[in-house]
Amino acid sequence: MMKHALGGALVVVLLVAAAYAAFFVAPTDVKQGLIYRILFLHVPSAWTGLVAFFVCFIANLLYVWRRAPRWDWLGISAAEVGLAFTTVVLVTGPIWAHPVWGIWWTWDARLTSTFVLWLLYVSYLVLRTLVEEPDRRALFSALFGIFAFIDVPLVFGSIRWWRTQHPQPVIMGEPGSGLDPTMRKVLFFSWLAMLGLMTLLLKARYRVEAMRGELETIRREAEVL
């Protein structure tokens, strides 16, 4: 319990420090001015969402291979947490886009593939409510989760392979692209804070699934009696 509280406190400190760095340490962008500071929430949330979906993908593969409930629990937990981060991306993106592009939304490759990714993982969650038998539900959702992950490389590559309204990559982009060194440090620090938040949420969500498992076991025991 103490360890859990300490972990939570550490994540809160990291998040506050990251917000401080985003507003008071990173220099103001010459072209965009103040609005670019949304970058320090938008981009780390996007990267963290993709990491969560990768965790879901690995858990789905392991479930298909091992059929152990804990991989199903991790899969659903990571899918839900990834969805929370991707929702933040889809909400903060248009708020940033409107003053800069003059539009809230456009169906370019990056925005569309991210929206499709969000829809796929919403479908993953919906699918789980449609199958009652636990083993079948776990297997179907694991297979669907593996299929849904196909969109993750598309999201990553969309701004590298196609011309988009969305800016080209500032990290791992073409030569000449990139961020000011201080902005870069703040961006990676914000990502670290987001990864901490992801871990915290993932652990909390996994506990829900583990408790559901425990409840099922007790119910079965009660039925026997």
Partner: protein
């Protein structure tokens, strides 16, 4: 200070989503804990 309202809106919306999600997880945990305790109690009494 141009676009300060948009920056504020983005951060407020982002943190509200994370907080709301954490609340739903915490509520589910509390409800399940209650169910488990209740069932354990029933089992104890029936034994």
């Amino acid at each position: 200070m141009k676009n300060l309202d948009s920056v504020f809106a983005a951060y407020a919306a982002g943190w509200a989503i994370f907080f709301a999600y954490y609340l739903t997880v915490a509520r589910r945990t509390a409800a399940l804990r209650e169910d488990i305790e209740h069932l354990k109690d029933l089992l104890k009494r029936s034994k």
